[in-house]
């Protein structure tokens, strides 16, 4: 009978199975949509169950096919994996809902659903993986699917953007695989726990090997998570994708690679080793550059989606920053930000997508006065923007608060100031959009709000921003436990 212990693999399996079935039933779109949403809902339920289980009984270790480590593949569902699964499944479901009910942007819908389900399966696999090569396989699946959900739009720009993404992502994959090879060389294992034990002794013997492996890993995962300066594929890719894809990519996919990196750090390397290596300082510098560069580039954008994409580059910088500061509050801030930025960015991309769908306008200079026609949509955009700037009362403030406190805890006041400067830069590029929308003269008489079903996800996400802005207590214990895994 169904037992909670199989839940981890069931999440991946459900999504995979549905991904294969949906194109088969494409003649009956209602069924396809139903299966799509149903799979999403099941995964949410499973994620909740897993989280409750982990909070109660500690880390779940699942041996796939009951082949145990070190030769079998393990899924290690600790607090971090549970948290990440929860974030991915809930936000994904909201995006699924939007895609199903919004006007279609792609021709082959059933195929689109299948690709998204594949992507989701891979994301869940990544956050739960306990075996480095298994992680690699899931990373590859997700990379392919992520490229595909951009290309499926079919326009010139999207094909070119997706090809560039594919090439750079493949480079990253190569780097990642090479680093796995190097690590396998010195540890003889592929299970992350066993590798950590082995590294404790062999790291001293083969320092060059380890450093090379880490360098390639940072490059590999850095390309995929758009860490500066490896982010160049992102603005084109996220801006030229269909709305739902942009939301998925910016809100979840890039984060998942950061999560993968963090898990490798504490599960495979072990934080003791991480402290010794110069990796921390390098990441701090890169994160700071990402925050500044992303914000500065965003300021000059007129195309709204490109602006949001550059904003993502900066936000990923925050997560790397929080992680590299390595104080309790900074790490908590980074982990919060994974959820909070997912909510905010998804809300913004979906709402902006609605604006583009309803009005055809893609640029800030075109949307003057539009807020009068679409009050709810723009209210959501305003809330999302306020949250990205970090106005107190919104969720974005919480992550900035923790990150800044964490920076002060680490004695690095400069980074606290950096976070504040980036808030100012965020205001500079988000506020013109809102002001133009509310105060310009209105020249488009026939634009109206989307259907209720489409407005629903926007409202839910907005409420989430306010809720987490004022009462984050609900998820706080989970975040604390997750942070403890890293800071110990």
């Amino acid at each position: 009978m169904f037992s909670i212990s199989h839940a981890p693999i069931l999440m991946v399996v459900t999504l995979l199975m549905t991904a294969f079935v949906v194109p088969l039933v494409r003649k009956n779109m209602r069924l396809a949509k139903g299966l799509f949403l149903g799979a999403g809902l099941i995964v949410v339920a499973l994620a909740v169950l897993i989280t409750l289980e982990v909070l109660q009984s500690g880390t779940m270790i699942y041996a796939v096919g009951e082949w145990s480590a070190p030769h079998g593949i393990e899924l290690v569902v600790d607090a971090f994996a549970a948290y990440a699964s929860l974030v991915v499944s809930v936000i994904s479901f909201i995006i699924y809902w939007f895609i199903v009910f919004a006007p279609r942007e792609v021709n082959y819908e059933a195929g689109y659903y299948a690709l998204i389900l594949l992507l989701s399966a891979a994301m869940h696999g990544i956050v739960m993986a306990g075996d480095i090569f298994n992680l690699f396989v899931f990373v590859e699946i997700s990379s392919l699917a992520a490229v595909a959900i951009i290309a499926v739009k079919g326009t010139k720009e999207s094909i070119e953007a997706s090809f560039r993404y594919l090439m750079l992502s493949a480079l990253g994959s190569g780097g990642l695989l090479f680093s796995i090879a190097l690590l396998f060389m010195i540890t003889g294992h592929l299970n992350m726990g066993y590798m950590r034990v082995a590294l404790a002794t062999t790291a001293g013997q083969y320092p060059l090997n380890l450093l090379t492996a880490l360098a390639f890993m940072v490059i590999g995962l850095g390309v995929k998570s758009a860490l500066f300066p490896l982010h160049i594929w992102l603005p084109d890719a996220h801006a030229n994708a269909p709305t739902g894809s942009s939301a998925l990519l910016s809100g979840l996919v890039v984060k998942v690679y950061v999560i993968a990196f963090m898990r490798i750090a504490y599960m495979l390397l072990g934080m003791d080793l991480f402290y010794i290596l110069p990796l921390r300082q390098i990441l701090l510098v890169l994160a700071a550059l990402a925050i500044i560069a992303g914000s500065v580039f965003a300021i000059v954008q007129d195309n709204i989606k490109r602006l949001l994409a550059f904003s993502t580059v900066a936000q990923v910088g925050y997560i790397f920053l929080g992680f590299s500061l390595l104080t309790a509050r900074a790490v908590e801030g980074a982990i919060w930000h994974i959820l909070i930025h997912a909510i905010m960015k998804t809300l913004l991309f979906l709402a902006v997508g609605v604006v583009i769908q309803q009005s055809g306008y893609k640029k800030i200079s075109q949307v003057h006065g539009l807020a009068r026609r679409m009050p709810l949509t723009f209210a959501c955009i305003t809330l999302g923007a306020l949250s990205m700037v970090g106005i107190p009362g919104t969720a974005g403030f919480i992550s900035k608060l923790y990150l800044a406190l964490g920076a002060l805890d680490a004695g690095l006041v400069i980074f606290a100031v950096l976070i504040l400067i980036s808030s100012l830069l965020s205001a500079i590029y988000y506020f013109p959009l809102i002001i133009t929308a509310y105060f310009g003269h209105d020249a488009s008489p026939d634009v109206k709000e989307p259907s209720l079903a489409v407005r629903l996800p926007l409202v839910i996400l907005s409420l989430a921003i306010l809720f987490y802005g004022l009462m984050p207590s609900m998820l706080l214990p989970l975040v604390r436990q997750t942070a403890l895994l890293i800071t110990r």
């Binding site: 090569f133 396989v137 590859e140 392919l144 490229v147 595909a148 290309a151 010139k156 720009e157 094909i159 070119e160 997706s162 090809f163 594919l166 090439m167 493949a170 480079l171 994959s173 190569g174 695989l177 090479f178 090879a181 396998f184 060389m185 592929l190």
Partner: protein
């Protein structure tokens, strides 16, 4: 002398790294899309070579249990690269499909030209 000695024992790794660099470099610098794809494959193959070389044991037999044989080559890397080859093939197939579409939209396989065309069209 000792250097040559070390190079000789690690020849497989060396070749793998050289191939990797060739592939990496070509992917980044050459303009023709098909060449980029070929370079990607070379890079992936280089890594597979590296993996297989890791598993090799001097005097080891193929990893099939046969009475009388004691020393085997490590079977794990072979399993890994099988997966890796599949991944590489899927990537290549998908990329080639995209290249076909790109040719259809832009009429050229030169990445610089594509960027130029896009730059003009892009408002």
């Amino acid at each position: 002398m000792a250097l040559l000695e070390r190079l000789y024992t690690n020849i497989y790794y060396l070749v793998a790294v050289v191939l990797f660099v060739i592939g990496f470099h070509t992917m980044l610098t050459h303009k023709n899309l098909i060449k980029k794809l070929m370079a990607l494959n070379i890079m992936d193959t280089a890594i597979f070579l590296f993996f297989v070389a890791i598993g090799y044991r001097q005097g080891g037999q193929a990893p099939i249990l046969v009475p009388g044989v004691e020393k085997f080559v490590n079977p794990i890397p072979s399993a890994l690269i099988l997966t890796g080859i599949v991944i590489s093939v899927s990537f290549t197939a998908f990329a080639l499909a995209l290249v076909v579409l790109l040719y259809k939209h832009y009429g050229t396989l030169d990445s610089d030209e594509i960027i130029a065309i896009r730059g003009k069209k892009h408002v």
